[in-house]
Structure formats: C-alpha cells, structure tokens
Symmetry: C2
Subunit: 197 residues, 2 copies
C-alpha cells in the first residue's frame, strides 16, 4: 500500500526541495493536508509567481524580478567598489556587513570536472561589466573552498593587466573562535595575514 495517487504525487514533488528526503516529504504533505491547506495554497501561488516573474538583474546577474536589483538600482552606493560573489545568498550575507559598493554575482565557481568553465559561470559578462564602469577596486568574495579560491585566482589573473586594485577577503580565525579548535590551514592564514594593532 501507499498513499492515494495525489498524495503520492505531492510527496514526490516535495522531494525536489534540497534536504528533503522521503520521510520529511511525507510529514510535510500530511501536515499541509491536515493542518494548513490555506498555507499550502499560498505556497503554490508564491511558487508560481516567483518562477514566472523572477529573472536576473541586468547588471549584477543576481536573482531579481525587476530589470535592476535593489543594489544596482540604488543611486546611493559606491560606484568605485565591486564585490564578486558566487551566488545570490552571498549577496544577502555581505549586505548584512553594511557593505555599500556594487556586486557581481557569478553562477557558482569554476569546476572543470563538472564542465563549468569561465563561460558557464559568467566571466565574460563580468569582464563586460567591469569595462563599462569606473571601478577602482574589485573585491573577490568567492567561497574559501578549493574551487572558490581557484575562481578568485583565475579572475585576479584576468584583471591584473587592467590596473585595478584586486583584493581577496581575509582568511583567519572567526570571531568567537577558539584557537585550539581552528584547523591548521586557517591558522596559517591567520598568522600570515597578521596586522599591527
């Protein structure tokens, strides 16, 4: 036995969500059916609307339903500073630091094994964006993973001839981190990047 066809279909559809396995999907489906049909209908509407209307910002290529995302449309931000990140969630993270420059959002990181070369992650668009603007500093804020580092180095090399300041976000001990719990690689970076106080 299993559930009736429509419930099964709902369970299967819920499994496309990241981190949702069979058991969670069953629980979600039955909870929605038994307790929150209004919420489920609202979720369906939100899904339809977002998938239909949300595209990419013309300038920074983050997800946006307008032609320009709020960060690109704002006239109050620093036009001399460009921060390059791997995805829209990273924009959200960096916004919370109070950063006031512009952004460029790659489509992930270079990953030759998965067939993701410079074109696939949007490097040509990035170069065009930089050529059409008057940036003075480019901040490479890709992830601190092997692929993120490789992507940052690749972009740094591309930009080297252009006479721009190209910087990489600092690596080191996180705030509140205890030294004995920090891995050796991070600690080496923290030592090498030491600054006078």
């Amino acid at each position: 036995m299993s559930f009736s066809p429509l419930i099964n279909q709902l369970i299967e559809s819920l499994r496309i969500l990241p981190g949702v396995g069979k058991k969670s999907a069953q629980r979600m489906a039955l909870q929605l059916l038994e307790r929150n049909r209004q919420g489920a209908l609202k979720l369906a509407d939100a899904l339809n609307l977002a998938m239909d209307k949300v595209g990419y910002c013309k300038l920074c290529h983050t997800l946006s339903e307008e032609e320009l995302c709020p960060q690109c449309a704002s006239p109050n931000r620093d036009d001399k500073l460009l921060c390059i990140v791997e995805g829209p969630l990273d924009v959200f993270a960096i916004e919370q630091t109070g950063y006031q420059g512009r952004y460029f959002v790659l489509k992930g990181h270079l990953s030759p094994l998965d067939g993701l070369g410079p074109e696939a992650i949007g490097i040509p668009e990035l170069l065009k964006r930089i050529e059409n603007a008057e940036f003075e500093e480019i901040i490479l804020a890709t992830n601190s993973t092997v692929e993120g580092e490789a992507t940052a180095h690749y972009i740094a090399q591309l930009l080297a001839p252009k006479g721009l300041t190209v910087s990489r976000i600092a690596h080191g001990v996180p705030l509140g981190g205890e030294l004995e719990l920090v891995d050796g690689g991070t600690l080496s970076h923290a030592l090498a990047g030491r600054r006078p106080i």
Copy 2:
C-alpha cells in the same frame, strides 16, 4: 537589504513546511529559482491539486481523494479486525507490517490542555463505525506517548461493555535494540510482557 519582494514571499511561504526555518527556506527558494524551475512549477501544481481534491475517507477517516480509501475499498481484507491509529502516517507504517484488517484514523490524541476532547479527535465517529460493522477485535495502535496511552485507555473503557476483544500493541525492546541502551520504562514493559518461547 533583503531579497526582492517575490523571493521574500516565496521564502516566507516555504517556512510553513514543518522543520523548515529561515536559512533552509532561503536555500530552497534560491535553489528552485536557479536550478529547478520546472520542478517548482510541478510542486505548485501538486499542492493545488492535492489541497483541492484530497478529503477524508468516509469509513476510516484517513486522507483520501476517493470516497473510500484503498484499505476500506478493498474486498480482500479482514472485516473482523479494526486497527485504531492517530493519523494517516500510522496507517502507512502499519501497512508495511502486512496487516490485513481495517483501520480507523483518529484526528490525533486526547489532549485536554490543548482543548482536544473525544469529539475533537473523532471518537463519536469511531463508535458509529464499530456499531455499523461486525468487528471481533479492536487493536489500539495509538502512539506509546503519555497522550497516546491515555487515548488508548479511554477507548478501551468505552468499548468494554460491547463484548469485543480490545487489544493494545506490545511494548518492549525494539528489534536490534541493546538492553543497556533501552530506558527503564520500556524494559519494565518488556519484562512484564515476557512470553514463553
């Protein structure tokens, strides 16, 4: 800053799912938008269809889009055996044991503090179901929680005058369970419920 309005709306809507907090909802929304718009549209359809069409089985009150669920509609099941459970997921669990009797699905368990009395969980419908059929044994398969036990005892008392066999599923050490890891209450049940081999 936050995401654009439609993305925010999608994130908020995803948070109605059980076990999904703010961060998971963000990850889900962006993953759907960036990687799986087709899947998201299918999910929206499945939600709409299920919320619209799925109701309750006339006999056992489990979720079903037909008037009778597959278990109640089947002519090949034992009409002398009724298993009472707390919810549709429990039917799914018990079906996997090969049980071949009928079911009755309560709407949860008695919980006076939450205002859930016998009417709220469907006891009157249960009594009607039992009166209109020829059951010989009623199996109480509510959860082994305090509320589940209380519900089972309440139903057992109600059924006592009817001359039916009323049984409760066994409590004991789970298969593969090591004695030293089993709690005292369970072990007491396992000892008290010992059987000759």
